[in-house]
Symmetry: C2
Subunit: 386 residues, 2 copies
């Protein structure tokens, strides 16, 4: 496998967007291509994440975007792995370039949910669960993650305040992200005083339903060196799964797919997790960030939920987690989230993250989860080849 670089990134603002998936994703793709200095005609193909075609009755999104980009002949494939759709799309674009089969590929994703109400959206999102046993019986994702939070509290003494501190951190980070859905600081009192969505998770423990699209341009190292003196390298790529239904897992407080995907990516990068400077992890709920940081090996099991309150995971802390604001406050346009994390990684590595910039960021890990962990994609990016 040869070295692959990311040379361009694009993203719409997250939040309510009047545009359709095809428009948002075309815009993000054009922005990424312009950022890369790559003519669309040089693109060999694309993988796009999208989970809920039903929201605007439009599947088969790829050819619409490729047509709008003026490259209808180039193949495009929609990838769905629930909330890890775009992470999985990036993985496939990486394989296509790393293998030597193609030189330039787009990876991205899009989601449009503001056309529907929150209850309907929650119902659609639950299609990503084991619907026969979970979503179809009313156990949609807030309920499933609430079960994980309850288990974490029971096993490790985690409190609602601990979780609220994670929300406070990510909201604070998002204030400095002009593309974030919720650019608004909240206090622990705000979180604990917000309505209970699924006990013990409050409204502010949950990510919002966002519209949005993101895209990145991948290419071979050879092509990248012609485009820029400072390419961002894909140092590691990992993909794994877990038992689909939460009730079939050995533990509610750990996601096996995170561990395996991270191990694969770290091995490829020749790194340990301690070598990574900052993390964009899948915090669809506050508890998800806590568990992710434990499964990634950043913190001992049971201690992940204490790190925000102790300042460790703030942007200026020892282990910055979700400087973008994360899914929690930056937002979660399901099919776009995975490549959205990669957009942030690239901006941080280039030193272009503005007020969000983490000083001296040399390596970044992105962690994208589908459902309660049935799917996971982990990627490691760096300013050097490895």
């Amino acid at each position: 496998m040869r070295k692959v670089c990311v040379v361009g990134v694009g993203s719409t603002a997250y939040g309510k967007n009047k545009e359709s998936n095809r428009e948002m994703l075309t815009r993000a793709s054009l922005d990424a291509l312009e950022d890369a200095g790559v003519d669309p005609k040089e693109v060999d193909g694309a993988f796009f994440g999208n989970a809920f075609a039903v929201t605007e009755r439009q599947g088969h999104i790829g050819p619409l975007v490729m047509s709008a980009l003026g490259i209808p002949d180039a193949p495009s494939t929609t990838v769905e792995a629930a909330c890890a759709s775009a992470g999985a799309a990036f993985r496939e674009a990486w394989v296509n370039v790393a293998s030597g089969l193609h030189d330039v590929f787009l990876a991205g994703g899009t989601e449009k949910v503001s056309t529907i109400d929150t209850l309907t959206a929650t119902g659609y999102f639950a299609y990503g669960s084991d619907y026969v046993f979970e979503g179809g019986n009313g156990c949609s994702f807030p309920g499933l993650y609430a079960a994980m939070a309850t288990a974490h509290m029971h096993e490790h003494g985690t409190t609602s305040e601990d979780l609220a501190e994670i929300a406070v951190k990510n909201h604070k980070h998002a204030v400095d992200n002009p593309k974030a859905h919720l650019q608004k600081a909240v206090t622990v009192e705000d979180v604990l005083g917000s309505m209970e969505v699924a006990s013990p998770l409050h409204f502010y423990d949950c990510c919002p339903f966002s519209d949005g699209a993101t895209a990145v341009v991948l290419c071979s190292e050879e092509v990248a060196k012609k485009l820029t003196d400072t390419p961002v390298y894909v140092q590691g790529a990992g993909r794994a799964g877990s038992v689909a239904a939460l009730h079939d897992r050995e533990s509610f407080t750990s996601i096996p797919a995170t561990k395996r995907a991270a191990a694969e990516a770290l091995k490829m990068a020749g790194k340990t997790v301690q070598d990574i400077d900052l993390f964009e992890v899948h915090d669809c709920f506050t508890i998800a960030e806590a568990i992710a940081t434990e499964d990634l090996g950043l913190f001992k099991p049971g201690t992940g939920a204490k790190q925000a309150r102790e300042g460790v995971t703030y942007r200026d802390g020892k282990v910055p987690v979700n400087p973008s604001g994360g899914l929690k406050a930056k937002g979660h346009p399901v099919g776009a989230t995975g490549t959205g994390q990669i957009v942030e990684a690239v901006l941080q590595l280039r030193g272009e993250a503005g007020k969000r910039q983490v000083d001296g960021a040399e390596t970044v890990l992105t962690h994208n989860v589908g459902a309660t962990g049935g799917s996971c994609a982990v990627h490691i990016f760096g300013r050097s080849v490895a």
Copy 2:
């Protein structure tokens, strides 16, 4: 890229099936693994085609199937490219093995539509069109392919009888396929006497809505040689797109993506189309088979619709097309169709196609189209390495 082989195939019967997508796809996958003599634990991952999660409110199908197979840790990704979903899934499994990244992969697909009525199903299928301009204005796929048929008639003098002869051939072929949805011969009179679905297409010009799942096991040549003395080789793989909306095409009687995908696959195989012994092409409507055989270069433009009536494309003809019965009569479980064509290719190459066997089949081409050609996947299989 290294050589890749298909060492196992599995398929449910096509038609109405009481089982869910997860059950059908697990069954097809287990059958493919048993056929290959491969323990599920040796599988590195899977790509599965599925287009209409909404029919049973179940997306994120991969982890459900991997869990049922006893390999929940292995990553799985759903691929959607409208009716070319499983062809695109196979392509990605091939890239993952050909690249050297993985040794054994599953590719397959599933669709469940018998839970809904025909009008609702037609509406869901139209999500694969350019919905803003096509499906949303009542121009679903029968209408779009009717426009292509009308153009073909206008440009080339094709008649309804010509098209009916294609249906007659594929129904005749399907009589010998115990897994076909419509194991029933029809006459030209039956076709012309059936209701007009979208003029000039009659009911019997259209493929049925089928439930079904299919799966194949791919592996490196090295692994294949340990499993069997007669592996089927993937000699060529091609993927391409076309302008999404039919009205934006230069021609209604040709699909650019077919030409490009076929050229890519043939180049890789080092073959011309005349070297291929039989074809499984995407005949969602009779006109689609005519156009496909022209775009593949089997027949001169405008003459594709005359070949069935002249006996050329029958199983015992000079150029056998759709010996399985094709989408037209074998059936069309959307997300499963692409790998279903590959199941037939492998059975033919192994000499295991029973009454459908085409004598001396050494190479087979499969051709899978999404929508009116926005996506296309072409693969070439052979009994020898190239």
